[in-house]
């Protein structure tokens, strides 16, 4: 709760920095505020509190995800220093990012369907605007419109679902809904089934799971790279944290309704995401499809309704966001010089920019799930959790999907060490380098000592 208040105040202060003329010092202020919010998140650790008539439930699960998302946002503010430097509305965009973070935090800690809806909207509306923040770029405008229309449509499904669940159980409170679904005969009947499925469709849109993923590649490619970095890390993590919280806790009693659907969608997402990513020449678009594929793996954690599921989805979210933000950080630095997002712009990077190449190497290995990196243990935990529920064929598809993934991630690594047309040395500030190195080392440390994170929840 303190985190929420700090973040909201920070958002307002940043919003007003242009009007009251303290624009110059706003960036240090943002860092101070985010660090304060990060520290404040730990207050309720191991306590578990309810706020506002159980509207918000702060437990270790939500704190862990909040900490992850605030940390990623801090890194994001370091790697996007040139973010709209030329545009007058720069601080407004920063404020929107912080407001989106508020929504993301609410999405990890809702205890009520109304709060779920509000969180999704608080998270989504700034992202619609930010996707179109490169106003002179047609692709960016297209991305914003597409994202908005699809997002609004998905929200409609979500609301229909919530309404039906309310009609059946007479409550918005997750605890009461869960009890009602358990005690009612045939798990709530046709209304509960329709409600759960509609909510699921709404959330599938938000996490870009196939066959609801068609907006994602266009939006991820069209939006400014900085925004894509935020979308594929913080927004995705938040959406999954909310998805997991709702289904694995509230709807776990009526699991028979939705487990099979999510299983099929998960398999489909892994196949579609990985195979389409192979055919991409643009690094940014490849990362978009890879983020779809990773959504498929994370869906596997939702259907493994056992003790492992919670920690495996947290581990996966950490590994994925950390490697993904590193990959986008590199793309930002590289595309700043080469002016395009192609994989070809990484050709021969290792020669002149050994540090950048090293970070790329670690990020790609982690995304592909190669042993010394966190990505490997993330997949390992997810697959173990799924195998305990005997989803053998799903794990088989997921393993095959990761093998396809290795192919396109390694294409980037191969490009790094090519001999031809080596790119010029890319100028980077010290703190930028430090941030990139730090996050890739985090991915490495969690890969070597997964116990640091795995036993947390």
């Amino acid at each position: 709760m303190t985190t929420l208040i700090i973040l909201s105040a920070l958002g307002l202060v940043v919003l007003f920095s242009e009007i009251f003329g303290y624009k110059k010092i706003v960036l240090p202020f943002i860092f101070a505020g985010l660090v304060a919010a990060l520290a404040a998140s730990f207050i309720d650790w191991n306590i578990g509190k309810h706020y506002l008539n159980e509207m918000m439930i702060v437990d270790n699960y939500s704190i862990a995800f909040t900490v992850l998302m605030i940390a990623i946002t801090i890194v994001w503010f370091i790697i996007s220093p040139g973010f709209f430097r030329d545009q007058g509305s720069r601080v407004d965009h920063f404020a929107l990012i912080i407001f989106a973070l508020i929504g993301a935090q609410l999405l990890t800690s809702f205890g009520n369907m109304i709060m779920l809806f509000l969180a999704v909207e608080i998270l989504s509306i700034p992202m619609y605007i930010l996707a179109g923040s490169n106003k002179s770029n047609l692709a960016s405008n297209e991305a914003a419109l597409k994202y908005f229309l699809m997002g609004a449509f998905a929200t409609g499904f979500l609301l229909f679902g919530i309404a039906l669940i309310y009609g059946q159980t007479g409550s918005f409170n997750l605890q009461q809904i869960s009890e009602a679904l358990t005690t009612q005969q045939d798990g709530g009947g046709v209304m509960a089934v329709a409600g759960v499925l509609l909510i699921m469709v709404g959330l599938f849109f938000k996490v870009s799971a196939a066959p609801f993923h068609f907006w994602a590649p266009d939006v991820y490619t069209g939006a400014p790279t900085e925004i894509t970095a935020f979308m594929s890390t913080v927004v995705k993590t938040a959406a999954f944290a909310g998805f997991f919280r709702l289904f694995a806790t509230c709807f776990s009693a009526s699991a028979s309704i939705w487990v099979n659907t999510i299983m099929v969608v998960s398999a489909l997402t892994i196949i579609v995401g990985n195979i389409t990513a192979v055919y991409q020449t643009s690094f940014k678009r490849m990362l978009a499809y890879s983020s779809i594929a990773h959504a498929g793996y994370m869906l596997m954690a939702i259907i493994s309704l056992n003790g492992y599921a919670q920690q495996s989805i947290l581990f996966y979210a950490v590994a994925y966001s950390v490697s993904s933000i590193a990959a986008f950080g590199i793309l930002l630095a590289v595309s700043h010089i080469t002016k395009n997002d192609d994989v070809a712009s990484f050709n021969g990077l290792a020669k002149k920019n050994p540090l950048l190449a090293f970070v790329t190497l670690l990020a790609m290995l982690s995304l592909a799930g190669i042993p010394p990196m966190a990505g490997f243990f993330a997949k390992y935990y997810i697959f173990t959790a799924a195998l305990q529920q005997h989803y053998t064929w799903l794990v088989l598809i997921a393993v095959l999907g990761s093998l396809i993934g290795v192919f396109y991630y390694f294409r980037v690594i191969i490009a790094l060490f090519k001999n031809e047309n080596s790119a010029a040395e890319i100028p980077m500030t010290g703190i930028y380098k430090a941030a990139l190195l730090f996050i890739s080392l985090v991915a490495l440390v969690f890969g070597i000592m997964p116990g640091l994170l795995a036993g947390l929840l």
Partner: protein, 123 residues
């Protein structure tokens, strides 16, 4: 809680849907059948409150109008939240006042933001 609703309990809602859709269909069909058909040039023109219509409606026009309109709707809706507070002013007590003042401060910061940003400047 008395949560044992049978699907048949929702029959009134279905009935309402049928009545709503039926009313629209019936009136549209009925007016087509019953109404006299006199097609002249003036009859087929766009009806614009009695004023003669001019030119095409599909022309670009100032976004300022939308901005003012949407801001009006926004603040209009926010003011609605004050009605329940006014009705329950006594029972909500000091907590209600504090919460409402926080709401109004946030509300006014938004107002200040749009004024300072020049969203209401008409030039």
């Amino acid at each position: 809680m008395e949560n044992q609703h049978l699907p048949s309990d929702f029959f009134p809602i279905v009935l309402q849907f049928i009545v709503a859709a039926g009313f629209v269909v019936t009136t549209m069909v009925a007016t087509h059948i019953l109404g006299p058909k006199r097609k002249s040039k003036i009859k087929l023109e766009t009806f614009e409150c009695g004023i003669e219509s001019q030119g095409n409606a599909r022309v670009p026009f100032s976004i300022k109008y939308f901005l003012v309109a949407i801001l009006f709707v926004l603040f209009d809706v926010e003011v609605i939240f004050m009605y329940p507070w006014a009705v329950n002013f006594k029972s909500l007590g000091i907590n209600g006042i504090i919460e409402m003042f926080i709401f109004m401060v946030l509300f006014l910061t938004g107002f200040m933001y749009i004024i300072k940003k020049g969203a209401l400047k008409w030039e």
